[in-house]
Amino acid sequence: MQRVLPRGASAPRAWHVMSAANLERCVATAVARMGGEPGPLIEILHSVQNELGFVPPEAVPLIADALNLSRAEVHGVISFYHHFRDRPAGQHTLKLCRAEACQAMNGNVLAEFAKRRLQVDFGKTSDDGKVTLEAVYCLGNCACAPSAMIDGQLRGRVDEAMLSNCLDGWGVRE
């Protein structure tokens, strides 16, 4: 899965200048990839989000048209699933596991630390647009708790020092 989101702080935000034609092409490709497979909506949403980093609200009527669904049905699916976002994430994404096995290994302390350093709550992006902090409920790495997914990379036995290093590397101020 390849993301085309720019990572550099000063890079132009491609999604803001994405043309209607580009969006149409992206949706058409996603629809075509599923061929005549039944029940393709979620797979199409994955394709669009993998390509653009999120599912732009402008994509909803295009997808609805292509699948002969109502806009409400498409919107309902996007809003049901935690994974889909309707706006871009920050340049970096920090997902912390909040489930029991990680809580048993100081996961709550780690969560408070991340919130304090980033000055945001879960589900939000830091004011400078650098980091989106997300809660996940189990990464399936429970024997190596606590776990995090840092820009798509799974990490186990995470501690404050490791998180701190990571945030420093992203240029998040103390």
Partner: protein, 520 residues
């Protein structure tokens, strides 16, 4: 240089091992060995399940495989200096890992190839008894395959523990032009990872199991519903499906049998509820994962309205073993109505966490102390939660409970998908009860009121109990109990219906935690 003359070194490519640095270990080994003029062949196997020893490196020697535990990438030069490639003893040396006490007492029937084979190599799978179950199945009548599964006593390992053979028989008996095998790989329970390990470390076992299921019930299409949190598993599965298709183990006319079966993978999108079978079917059809009212059962009217076998990864990956070793062999493990083995997953605050496959009947104490070695923090164990976020918390006084379906049900708990999460004495059980309700509120599909509203009211109640004066607390505790009754009896599915298990068990066994100032 011919690959046969190169020394083979195994470095797990399993996501858990990678999360502890296995990729860096593999890269360092490759680089360092090349620099020393002794290039090696690196196999990225699955994890054997001893996560407390990861990264666990093994080297193939004339005397067998020799293991080295807790290897860090920075230590690779020292490890090589100490004679890694010849299997020499050093501070990392563990010898033959299968003779290690942590492994020797395990009874691996489903996870027998985990960490042993190269998950990308179908020939390696076949050498290790892979596809012998399918060979048997191809020579059997569908009804006889179903009977073998029924006779084995196998019950659904996803959590509901429904007899697999009965489910297959129902689908087998339906007259329908199109039937489906839907594999539930939406392993969302905290403390569980056996599906992930199998998908990454032995994916052909699942593919073979689904194919056998297809032959048994007359289904030609299979779907794997895989959670989006498992990108490593998605890649491993895609590779394995490609190879199986190329080699004629999937697709039209499987192994020149005249029978067809193929598998598609559909990704979930971060909804715990989609591990519930009817919600998963809705999601597979591209809709919101709202649970369906039963009846009709999925076995009669399932995916796209057609008869569908819905089974978990572990269940399906166990099917080849049953056909290859025989139903009686599998049934001889276990006790009572709980037959066979379970890949238990030992997690949380535990010293030696990982995958422990044993027959039903192992006690909680044996699992937590003999295998787990107590807590990672070194503090006393206070509680374990068995069966994921909907499972009960057990106090130390109940650790002699045998791990089987009936014994746990008698304790107002469940085995679920076999995850056991250990907590030390710093755990605040009122906070865990509150979390159980909060999790239910976050993940509720919203279709039924007891789950959608009850979970939020429950969180509010726990907060009130923890901040109120003694006078009103007794009334609120009684109200919480009533709320649990309503959720347990009035919810459409297990999410709302079973959330009372962790809440009530915390209240029952750890009532002293439900005092004001318990939750910050």
């Amino acid at each position: 240089m011919n690959s046969r003359t190169l020394t083979t070194v195994y470095v797990p490519g399993d996501a858990g091992a990678v999360s502890l640095g296995a990729d860096a270990v593999a890269a360092a080994l490759e680089r360092e060995c090349r620099a020393r003029g002794t290039p090696i062949r690196i196999v990225r196997n699955g994890s054997r399940g001893a996560y407390w020893l990861e990264t666990l490196v093994e080297v193939k020697t004339p005397a067998g495989r020799v293991a080295y535990g807790n290897v860090q990438s920075s230590e690779v030069p020292s490890l090589l200096d100490a004679g890694l490639l010849t299997g020499a003893k050093s501070s990392w040396w563990l010898g033959n890992i299968e003779k290690h006490e942590w492994f020797q007492s395990q009874q691996r029937l489903t996870s027998t190839r985990l960490g042993v084979v190269d998950p990308t190599d179908i020939d390696d799978y076949i050498v290790h008894a892979g596809y012998s179950g399918l060979s048997s199945a191809l020579s059997m009548q569908p009804q006889d395959i179903v009977r073998a599964i029924t006779d084995s006593g196998l019950r659904g390992r996803g959590g509901a523990a429904f007899p697999t053979g009965i489910k297959w028989q129902t689908v087998h008996d339906q007259p329908a032009a199109q039937k489906y095998i839907a594999c539930n790989a939406d392993e969302g329970d905290s403390g569980t990872f056996s599906d992930r390990m199998l998908l990454e470390g032995d994916p052909f076992a699942l593919i073979e199991g689904m194919t056998i299921a297809g032959l048994a019930v007359g289904a030609t299409r299979g779907y794997i519903y895989l959670r989006v949190e498992y990108p490593h598993a998605a890649r491993a599965l895609a590779r394995a499906l490609h190879v199986a298709r190329e080699r004629g183990y999937l697709g039209a006319d499987i192994r020149q049998s005249g029978r067809d079966f193929d598998i598609s993978v559909r990704m979930g999108a971060g909804a715990y509820i989609c591990g519930e079978e009817t919600s998963m079917l809705e999601s597979l059809e591209g809709r919101r994962g709202e649970v369906r009212v039963r009846p009709p059962l999925p076995a009669i009217k399932g995916l796209f309205g057609q008869p569908t076998v819905v089974n978990n990864v572990v269940t399906l990956a166990t099917v080849p073993t049953i056909l290859s070793l025989g139903a009686a062999h599998y049934r001889d493990f276990g006790q009572g109505k709980s037959r066979g083995t379970v890949p238990f997953q030992l997690a949380g605050n535990v010293k030696r966490g990982g995958l422990v496959e044993r027959a039903f009947g192992l006690t909680v104490r044996e699992l937590v102390y003999d295998y787990g070695g107590g807590t990672a923090s070194g503090r006393p164990v206070r509680a374990v939660q068995i069966g994921g976020p909907l499972g009960a918390y057990l106090p130390e006084s109940q650790f002699d409970t045998p791990l089987d379906y009936e014994a746990l049900a008698a304790r107002d708990g469940l085995l679920g998908h076999g995850g056991v999460v250990v907590f030390d004495d710093t755990v605040d059980m009122a906070r865990m009860a509150r979390y159980a309700l909060e999790f239910c509120a976050i993940e509720s599909c919203g279709k039924c009121t007891p789950c959608r509203v009850g979970s939020t009211r429950g969180v509010e109640l726990v907060d009130r109990i923890l901040t109120s004066s003694n006078g009103s607390r007794a009334g609120d505790l009684a109200l919480l109990d009533e709320l649990c009754d309503t959720m347990a009896s009035g919810s459409l599915c297990g999410l709302g219906g079973l959330t009372p298990y962790p809440v009530r068990s915390a209240l029952k066994h750890f009532r002293e935690d439900f005092h004001s100032s318990g939750v910050g």
